[in-house]
Symmetry: C2
Subunit: 295 residues, 2 copies
Amino acid sequence: MINQKYLNTFMKLVETQHFTQTAEQLFMTQPGVTQHIQKLEKYFNTLLLQRYGKQFELTLAGEKLYQTGLKMRLLEEQLSEQINHDDPTQGHCSFACSGPLANFLYPHFISYQSLHPQLSISVEAAPNKNIINDLLTNKVDLGIVTVEVIQEQLKQTLLATEELQLILPASFAQEAKKWSFVDLNNIGFINHPDGLHFIEKVFTANFKADYKGVNSLNVKGYVNQLQQILLPVAKGLGFTILPKRAVLQFKQQDQLTVVSLEHVIEETLYLTQKRYRQLPTRYDWFESKMKMLLS
Amino acid sequence: MINQKYLNTFMKLVETQHFTQTAEQLFMTQPGVTQHIQKLEKYFNTLLLQRYGKQFELTLAGEKLYQTGLKMRLLEEQLSEQINHDDPTQGHCSFACSGPLANFLYPHFISYQSLHPQLSISVEAAPNKNIINDLLTNKVDLGIVTVEVIQEQLKQTLLATEELQLILPASFAQEAKKWSFVDLNNIGFINHPDGLHFIEKVFTANFKADYKGVNSLNVKGYVNQLQQILLPVAKGLGFTILPKRAVLQFKQQDQLTVVSLEHVIEETLYLTQKRYRQLPTRYDWFESKMKMLLS
DNA sequence: AATTAACCATAATATTTTGTTATTATGTTT
DNA sequence: AAACATAATAACAAAATATTATGGTTAATT
């Protein structure tokens, strides 16, 4: 690592062109200046000054070091100015949530971003597990997940609840029919990243007698693209379970039937973040906006 | 100045998230790491780490310091890579010379620049005195002047010689007339930045008997724009003295007469640079190009 | 030309800074 | 509950850094 004190002495020397004056201005003695320059020359293994008489010119290396020094000086100045500032209208904001939620939230975010162009916003759609992992590794700052986390490092606040809907192909629609686990399992399940988690919640509440865990489930497919999960259902290939907001985003609503369940299961959305990590104030707007939109 | 060693320790700590591992990887002991962080926190007068148990998260300040550290690390890497390189096809080249010469040279320079877009080229038209001053203060690296300099800090090589021409309005043209100092002084002198210097050289050689120094000269005007020096001459308002190349650049040649002098005076062009200052190799092409063009 | 003053380099020494060892306190895991 | 791992602190050792004293050059002055 380059010694900044030496570099500073060098820069002052370049500016004064004078060892003794450099020493005076930096409140040190002249031999100190000489030694600093010598240390730098040893460190870079190059002459920095072309000496002649008691004067000198910079060598090419010296010139480059000086230029770099200017840039470093700038970086340092900016840092000490900014290190205790927390501007709510600039910087990077990173979010992760489920696909449907991302689709829903992102338009609101970008209209805010256009008010504050200094903001940079990234929203990643991902399943709960990945979101939690991204939070733990600081890849995102704020996540919305549908599970309570066990990690002590994370903290959560309740954002909203949303109904989980059991979706059948419209072709299977039968008024007031009371569907059983066996009926559904004959049709087959279209899985997705949160699919089994939803099954567990909805089926244990509604089909306690017959449902014996995910192993007994007839899984007919899997897809992790939000827009595509409901396609096989629409085509009559199977049923699935999704949050209401995800179902509403599907184009061909007439191809689907929402089965009304005896025990309505609400999925809970938790705003999740690192417990010991202070978020910049630029996140404040997003937090309150999300609470407003989702409540 | 921020201590780079401390910063380096901090960066490693951010990357390992672990004091002991940081110490091992940097071949130091764990208390050293603790102390480095403490020194940085004292220096910035802010917490950099939010500690909990034996773990920690970065504070906002810590995050900013880490980001700045990354930039500094990059600067340093680039420097140590480049400090002993001297690429002839990139970097800044600065020249100063007389206006006519600048007009003549610059087109050749820019066509070279278009071959090597990494080059940046500046050519400044200025009188000798300014050129010398700019060289001494490192504002330009290479200059062309028409005088021998006295400063020991500068070195010169002969580039070319060029005839100094005495220019009269075309209306004054008289075949084979032998002009005297008094004739000319009646017409009056149009001065320019190098005007008196040229007068001195040409008149002492040609009108030794009558010319008694610049004080006796009838100066009718002054302008330091190359394109405009010959305008008053063309209009019949006075005579002037210019290098041949400057005269050739004037549009209305038919308005001018070049007086043939008994003693032709050649102006000498000296390539001038700092004696103890090595020029980057990117100047090599320019030096040889200029020699080629002007010889 | 001789003298003086200004300036930078070097060597030896003093001082300050930095790093280490030993130890304690506090969590974490078995 | 015991063993282990980790970070903080204090005291001390080591290293880095700065200063004083001095000498050799170069430039300025007489």
